[in-house]
C-alpha cells in the first residue's frame, strides 16, 4: 500500500506512456491490434484506480494527510517553478473520481469506437487526457495547475474535433479552444500577478510558484500586500479561468457545441472530469477567495446565473446530448453556489455524485444514439422503454438522482441545502429551488420523450453488452454512493426541495405524456430558451463582425499607412528617376554640354560666393 502512495507519480506517467506508445505504435504500424491497445489503456487506468483508492483511504484515516514530491522544472534568478505531485484529501478524492469514470468510459469506448478508422488515435488522446487531468488534480502548485489546465484544454479540443472532417465538429473544437483560451489568459494573468506580489513584496521567493502546501500563508500575504481592488481583480481573474473551464456564464456556450465530439468524450471530459476542474481550482484556492466577501458573492452570482441559464436552455433543447450538456453547465453552477456560500465539502461531494450520474446518463445517451445511427434529435426517439427496458430503468435512476429526489443525488443536494439553511442564505435557497425545479422538469421531459410514449420504430434494437457493463458499474456507484455521504437528518431541509422537484416531475408527466397537445404556448419564453438567450448570436456577432472588423482595421492601417509610406517613398524615388532619365538622351555630346554647363555654373557660383565673402569680410 505504501509503495503505491509513494509512487503516485507513476499513475500520472503511465497514461502518458500509454498515449505515446499507442500513437507511435500506430504511426509505425506496429501496434494495430485493438485488443492490445485496450488492455494497455485499461492496465494503466486500473493501476491508477488502485493507487488512488489506497491513497484515498490513507487520506481518510490519517488526519491532515499531505505528501509532496517535486522536482525543479524552471528556475531563473530566485524564481523557481516546481512540478510534481501533491496529495491531500481533496486531490486523492478527485483522483479517485477521475480514474473510476475513466475506467468505465474506456471500456465503453472500446465497442463504441470499434469500427472507427481512428480507433488508436482516440485511445491515444484519451490516455493523454487522463495524464493531464490526473496531473492537474495532483498539482503541488498553481503553475502546474496552469500547465495541466492548458493540456486538458488541448486534449479536449483534439477530442471534440476528433471527426475533423465534419464541419460542425471542427467549428465546435475551435470554439471550445478559443473560449477556454480566454479563460486561460485570465487565469495566467491572475497567477502571474499573485505570484509577483508574493515574490516582490512578501519576500517569500520560494512561494513564488504558489504551492498549495502553504496556501493559507499565501492567502494572508496576498491579502496583506495588496489593496482591496487589486486583490479583487486578481481573484476575479483566477475565477474567470474556472468559469471558462467549468462552462459558466458568460463563457458557457462552448460546452453544448462540444457535444459534436464522440459520446465517450462527452461522458468523460465534458461532464465528469475536465469541466469539474474549475470547481476543483476554486476549492484549492478557497483560502484566498474566502478573505473577501465580494469574491465569494461573485462566485455565488456566477453560479446562480449559469445554473439558471443552463436549466432554462435545457428545457426546450431538442438534442439529447445538448440537454445533458446544458444540465452539466447548470449543475456546475450549483457547485459554484455551494462553494461561494462556503460549503466546501458539500460542493466536492456534489461534484463526485454529479460526475457519476452525468457520465452514466451520457453513456446511456450514447448507447441510444449508436442504435439510431448517430441521430441526436429528440423527435427521432420515443417509446424506447419497450426495446431497452434495462437502459430505461438505469436512465430513470439517473434522472431521479440528478433531480435530487433519490439516491446519491438526493444525499449530496441535501448537504448543500443543509448548509444554506444553516447560514440563512434565503435568496440563494430560493434560486436553488427554482433551479431544482427546472432540473427535474427538463430531465424528466427528456426521459418521457425518449423512453415513454409511442414508439417510432418497430424493430427490436440490439446493443452490445460490453457497453452496458460500464453503465451498470456507474449505476451501482450512483445507487450506493449516497449511503457513504455524511447524513444531515433534518426533515424540513429535505422536504421543501423534494416537494418542488416532485411537482416538476408531475408537470413534466402531464405535459409530455398525458396531455401532449395541451402544452401551454409561451412564445417569448420558448424562443428565448430555444435560441439559448441569444448569447450564441451575440458571440457570433462579436467574433464574426466586431473582431473581424478590428482585424480589418489593423490590416488597413498596415497596408495603407505603414506600407503606404513605403509605397510613397518608392513612388517619389521612381518619379525622380523618371524625370532624370529624360536627360539621358544617349547622345554623348549632350552629356558633355550638360556637364560643362554645370561645371561652369558651379565655378561661377563658387567665385561669386567667394568674392562676396571676401568683400564682407573686409567690410
Amino acid at each position: 500500500m505504501e509503495i503505491f502512495i509513494q509512487n503516485i507519480g507513476l499513475t500520472v506517467l503511465f497514461p502518458l506512456w500509454c498515449s505515446v506508445l499507442i500513437f507511435l505504435g500506430n504511426f509505425l504500424s506496429i501496434l494495430k491490434s485493438k485488443k492490445i491497445i485496450l488492455s494497455l489503456t485499461l492496465l494503466s487506468t486500473t493501476f491508477g484506480l488502485i493507487t488512488s483508492l489506497f491513497t484515498f483511504f490513507n487520506a481518510m484515516v490519517t488526519e491532515n494527510f499531505v505528501l509532496e514530491n517535486t522536482f525543479k522544472f524552471l528556475s531563473v534568478n530566485n524564481f523557481i517553478l516546481e512540478l510534481g505531485t501533491y496529495i491531500d484529501l481533496t486531490s486523492s478524492f478527485m483522483l479517485l473520481i477521475i480514474f473510476t469514470v475513466t475506467l468505465a468510459v474506456q471500456i465503453y469506448s472500446y465497442s463504441y469506437m470499434y469500427n472507427d478508422a481512428s480507433f488508436s488515435r482516440f485511445f491515444a488522446l484519451m490516455n493523454f487526457f487522463t495524464f493531464s487531468m490526473s496531473a492537474l488534480v495532483l498539482s503541488p502548485n498553481l503553475f502546474q495547475i496552469y500547465i495541466c489546465w492548458e493540456l486538458v484544454g488541448v486534449s479536449s479540443y483534439l477530442l471534440i474535433s476528433f471527426w475533423f472532417h465534419k464541419n460542425a465538429a471542427s467549428n465546435a473544437g475551435k470554439k471550445a479552444f478559443v473560449m477556454n483560451r480566454i479563460g486561460d489568459m485570465c487565469l495566467l494573468a491572475g497567477i502571474i500577478l499573485s505570484s509577483i506580489i508574493i515574490y516582490n513584496y512578501s519576500g517569500q521567493t520560494d512561494f513564488a510558484d504558489i504551492p498549495f502546501s502553504s496556501i493559507d500563508k499565501i492567502a494572508a500575504y496576498l491579502f496583506t500586500y495588496t489593496s482591496e481592488p487589486i486583490f479583487i481583480i486578481i481573484c476575479v481573474l483566477l475565477i474567470l479561468g474556472s468559469i471558462a473551464k467549468s462552462a459558466q456564464f458568460p463563457l458557457h456556450t462552448w460546452l453544448p457545441d462540444a457535444m459534436e465530439g464522440p459520446t465517450p468524450v462527452s461522458a468523460l471530459i465534458h461532464s465528469a472530469t475536465m469541466v469539474a476542474a474549475g470547481v476543483f481550482l476554486i476549492a484549492r484556492l478557497f483560502p484566498i477567495y474566502y478573505q473577501s466577501s465580494f469574491v465569494m458573492n461573485f462566485i455565488v452570482i456566477i453560479g446562480i446565473i449559469s445554473a439558471l441559464i443552463g436549466a432554462f436552455c435545457a428545457i426546450t433543447c431538442r438534442d439529447i446530448k445538448r440537454i445533458l450538456a446544458y444540465s452539466t453547465s447548470s449543475q456546475l453552477g450549483i457547485m459554484f453556489i455551494a462553494l461561494g456560500s462556503g460549503a466546501l465539502t458539500a460542493s466536492m461531494l456534489y461534484l463526485a455524485t454529479h460526475a457519476f450520474i452525468k457520465s452514466m446518463l451520457f453513456l446511456c445517451a450514447g448507447l441510444i444514439m449508436s442504435l439510431y445511427l448517430g441521430k441526436t434529435d429528440i423527435d427521432n426517439f420515443g417509446g424506447l422503454k419497450k426495446h431497452m427496458s434495462l437502459i430505461a430503468y438505469i436512465f430513470l435512476i439517473g434522472a431521479f438522482s440528478l433531480s435530487g429526489i433519490l439516491f446519491s443525488g438526493f444525499a449530496s443536494k441535501s448537504l448543500v441545502f443543509h448548509h444554506l439553511f444553516e447560514t440563512h442564505s434565503y435568496y440563494i435557497i430560493l434560486s436553488l429551488l427554482v433551479i431544482s425545479f427546472m432540473t427535474a422538469f427538463y430531465i424528466f421531459r427528456m426521459y418521457f420523450l425518449v423512453f415513454e410514449g409511442n414508439s417510432h420504430t418497430s424493430d427490436n434494437k440490439k446493443y452490445s453488452h460490453v457497453m452496458v457493463v460500464p453503465i451498470l458499474f456507474l449505476c451501482v456507484i450512483t445507487l450506493l454512493l449516497g449511503f457513504f455521504l455524511p447524513k444531515m437528518s433534518t426533515l424540513k431541509y429535505e422536504l421543501i426541495p423534494v416537494t418542488t422537484e416532485l411537482v416538476a416531475i408531475l408537470l413534466a408527466y402531464l405535459f409530455y405524456v398525458k396531455f401532449v397537445n395541451m402544452l401551454p404556448k409561451l412564445p417569448i419564453l420558448y424562443n428565448l430558451s430555444y435560441n439559448k438567450l441569444y448569447i450564441d448570436n451575440f458571440y457570433d456577432f462579436i467574433t464574426q463582425k466586431l473582431y473581424l472588423g478590428i482585424c480589418k482595421t489593423a490590416n488597413f492601417i498596415d497596408d495603407y499607412i505603414f506600407d503606404g509610406t513605403v509605397f510613397v517613398t518608392v513612388f517619389l524615388t521612381k518619379l525622380n528617376a523618371w524625370l532624370n532619365s529624360k536627360f539621358q538622351t544617349g547622345s554623348v555630346q549632350s552629356y558633355i554640354s550638360y556637364s560643362f554647363a554645370i561645371l561652369a555654373l558651379v565655378l561661377t557660383g563658387f567665385c561669386l560666393v567667394y568674392s562676396l565673402v571676401a568683400y564682407f569680410a573686409e567690410v
Binding site: 532619365s581 538622351t585 547622345s587 554623348v588
Partner: protein, 108 residues
C-alpha cells in the same frame, strides 16, 4: 618697330589655351561626324598641354613637373586616340555610319 617688341606673358598663353579649348569644346559638342569630334577632343588636350607648359615655364622654378606632365598627356592622348579609332572602326562596321546621332545605344 623696335617698340613693337612683344613681351609674351603667361596671360597670352592662357588666352591661347582658352581659345583652343573653346574651339575644341564646341567641336566636340556640335560636330556630327565622329571623327571631327575626336579631332576636336585632341584640341582640348592640346589646350591643356599649353597650360601645363606655360605654367611650368612661368611659375615653377624647377620647370620640370609641367613638362613631364605634358609628355605624359601626349602619350596618353596617343593611346586614347588609338583605342578610340579601334572602337570607331568597330562601330562603323556595325552601323555603317559616322554620324554621332546614330550611336544612341546608351539611352536608357
Amino acid at each position: 618697330m623696335a617698340n613693337l617688341v612683344f613681351n609674351i606673358t603667361l596671360f597670352h598663353y592662357l588666352i591661347l589655351a582658352l581659345i583652343l579649348f573653346t574651339i575644341g569644346l564646341l567641336g566636340v559638342i556640335l560636330s556630327k561626324n565622329i571623327i571631327k569630334a575626336l579631332i576636336s577632343a585632341e584640341f582640348l588636350i592640346s589646350a591643356v598641354n599649353i597650360n601645363f607648359v606655360a605654367f611650368a615655364f612661368f611659375v615653377d622654378s624647377a620647370k620640370l613637373t609641367g613638362f613631364i606632365f605634358s609628355i605624359f598627356t601626349i602619350a596618353i592622348g596617343a593611346v586614347e586616340l588609338a583605342i578610340a579609332f579601334a572602337i570607331f572602326y568597330l562601330l562603323f562596321k556595325e552601323k555603317k555610319t559616322v554620324n554621332i546621332n546614330d550611336y544612341k545605344e546608351l539611352k536608357g
